[in-house]
């Protein structure tokens, strides 16, 4: 399992109602059900991923995150998860606000563009390609890259309180100079 997903499973309380935005094939939701007895729904737009969710017996809703979360009532989830999807969203601020409208708590993970290898590649005049940023510039689904510092600045500006942060590289926690040495960041946040 992807290292950020392991962290997310541990942060979700037993029996919590979960919404996983950009849920892919539903693997996280399955683990949450098996390990935490947390029922939930996934939101996914890609046909193949939606079909995989149905095959995995995971509740999936094929709607576009860019239009907000109008299907979901205020406060209807304990936990809303956005794992490695933030960077693919055009209307980032709207979605973060929507997450904390429908959920009491949000969990967000994203590849850290501040990692030294990305910085180095840019310095050398190339767009970064790495394990956490696996795409070439011309085929990437990512539209909004950010660093750990950028994300925390945005949270502060729009009134989102960060409750917990885990920065990883190669699946291991990074505590020293996380914005330089971490390639993946995971946050637990609530309304400010």
């Amino acid at each position: 399992m992807r290292p950020d997903l392991k962290a997310i499973v541990q942060w979700v309380p037993q029996g919590a109602r979960v919404l996983d935005l950009g849920c892919g094939d539903g693997a996280l939701l399955r683990s949450l059900w098996q390990e935490r007895e947390a029922p939930g729904y996934g939101v996914e737009i890609e046909d193949d991923a939606v079909l995989a969710c149905v095959a995995n017996d995971v509740n999936v809703l094929q709607v576009d995150l860019e239009s907000g979360l109008s299907l979901f009532a205020d406060g209807s989830f304990d936990c809303v998860i956005l794992s490695e999807t933030l960077q693919t969203i055009h209307r980032t601020e709207l979605l973060l606000r929507e997450m904390l409208r429908v959920g009491r708590e949000g969990i967000v993970s994203f590849p850290n563009f501040g990692h030294w290898s990305a910085r180095l590649q840019v310095m050398l005049g190339k767009m970064p390609v790495s394990e956490t940023l696996p795409y070439e510039w011309y085929e990437t689904p990512n539209v909004h890259h950010c660093t750990i510092t950028d994300f925390e600045d945005l949270c502060r500006r729009i009134g989102i309180k960060i409750r917990e942060r885990l920065v990883l590289h190669d699946g291991k926690p990074v505590t020293l100079m996380p914005n330089l040495l971490g390639s993946l960041a995971v946050y637990r946040c609530t309304h400010g």
């Binding site: 729904y41 046909d47 079909l51 969710c53 149905v54 999936v60 809703l61 709607v63 299907l71 009532a73």
Partner: protein, 378 residues
């Protein structure tokens, strides 16, 4: 077309009839003293009686869901691409029941049947029936077949409305509701199309207020126009453009009122075909059943409250090119189910077929149904 030896066909199907002598009290207040339901079944009911799936049909279909008739091998069931051994709704695993609604012209008691009170065809006197009435009649058929609980009820369009109504009328008797290309109520625009179709029929001089059977005539002109209007709404503008373009049948404009464009020829053909086998009184009643369906009406228009009774798990499917029942109508149902914390999955497929896409074999659509059925625990 399925050849008789096709191993994925259920093979020769047998239409059966169940007769009921307990009167059926209808939502509109009338009562059917006795009635028959035509049905077909495929596969075998297991010993625990847990593997039954009810397939509900839409406007112009029937209980002939899959397979063919031994005496007419070209008469293949309307959802044969979905139902059969090894098909998405696998008859090796499920016992599939197709039942014909009351008011139909294909076997169940309807306007052309004999009214026991007069000894003549019911005609205009046949009562208006509703989706709720059909579910009640299907429930009695289920009792007759020894089915306490359906593993699933599935339908598209008007059939999907029955699949939804089952979760409200008999929440304990349905495990999964599969609601495809549907709406929890018609829009005024939908009703308007239905009304034009009804007016076409009722203003046909051969309609005789619905008592045309005894006059030995059929209001075919009205039925033709009704079908043409319906057909326009079943396919998307893009599909129509792709299929017909602006191709002229005679190569150049005729500057007359014969057929110029291919699409005119197609509509006339569909209208002619339909009016040769469908009953006008049935058409009037099914369009009314569509118009009246609105489970939220009793709850001040609050669909969330209306669906609170439902216990089933749901699969809701819509098609982006469907402008008769748009995806937005399906999302209304999904939202109400989510508000009620029901188990629900929702697919919004980018398939080109319009409303009729539910009858077609889009690989994603069929793959989803296949997986969904495979995951149903018996």
């Amino acid at each position: 077309m399925n050849a008789p030896h096709d191993p994925s066909s259920v093979g020769a199907a047998t239409a059966q009839k169940a007769r009921f002598t307990e009167p059926l009290r209808l939502r509109g207040g009338a009562e059917l003293p006795t009635y028959e339901i035509a049905y077909e079944t495929y596969g075998k009911l297991n010993e625990a009686r847990t593997n039954a799936v009810l397939v509900c049909h839409a406007l112009n279909a029937s209980h002939h869901v899959a397979g063919y008739y031994a005496e007419d091998k070209n008469n293949v069931g309307w959802w044969d691409n979905l139902v059969g051994p090894g098909k998405p709704l696998d008859t090796n695993r499920f016992f599939v029941v197709g039942s014909n609604y009351i008011g139909s012209c294909f076997g169940s008691t309807g306007p052309a049947s004999i009214n026991p009170a007069t000894g003549k065809p019911w005609g205009a006197d046949f009562p208006v029936v509703t989706v709720e009435d059909w579910v009640e009649a299907q429930r009695r058929l289920a009792d007759r077949l020894g089915i306490e609980r359906f593993a699933a009820v599935i339908g598209g369009s008007l059939g999907a409305m029955q699949a939804l109504q089952w979760t409200l009328s008999y929440p304990e008797r349905i495990g999964h509701s599969i609601v495809i290309a549907a709406a929890a109520k018609l829009t005024p625009q939908n009703i308007a199309f239905n009304e034009v179709a009804r007016q076409a029929i009722m203003t046909d001089p051969d309609f005789h207020g619905g008592h045309y059977y005894e006059k030995g005539v059929v209001p075919t002109r009205g039925l033709r126009v009704a079908r043409m209007i319906g057909h326009i709404t079943y396919i998307s503008g893009e599909a129509m453009a792709e299929k017909f373009g602006r191709v002229l049948r005679r190569g150049q404009p005729g500057f007359d009122f014969d057929i110029d464009f291919e699409v005119e020829s197609y509509l006339r053909y569909q209208g002619d075909k339909f009016s040769s086998y469908f009953d006008a009184n049935t058409y009037l009643r099914i369009t009314k059943a569509l118009d009246y369906f609105d489970p939220a009406a009793d709850y001040g228009g609050d669909l969330t409250k209306a669906l609170a009774r439902a216990k089933a798990a749901f699969l809701v499917v819509s098609f982006k090119s469907d402008w008769r029942f748009t995806p937005a109508r399906s999302r209304e149902m999904v939202r109400a189910l989510l508000d009620n914390r029901r188990i629900v999955s929702y697919l919004e497929l980018d398939a080109p077929g319009g409303h009729d896409a539910f009858l077609l074999e889009d690989p994603r659509y069929h793959a989803a149904l296949r997986s969904y059925f495979a995951n149903i625990e018996l």
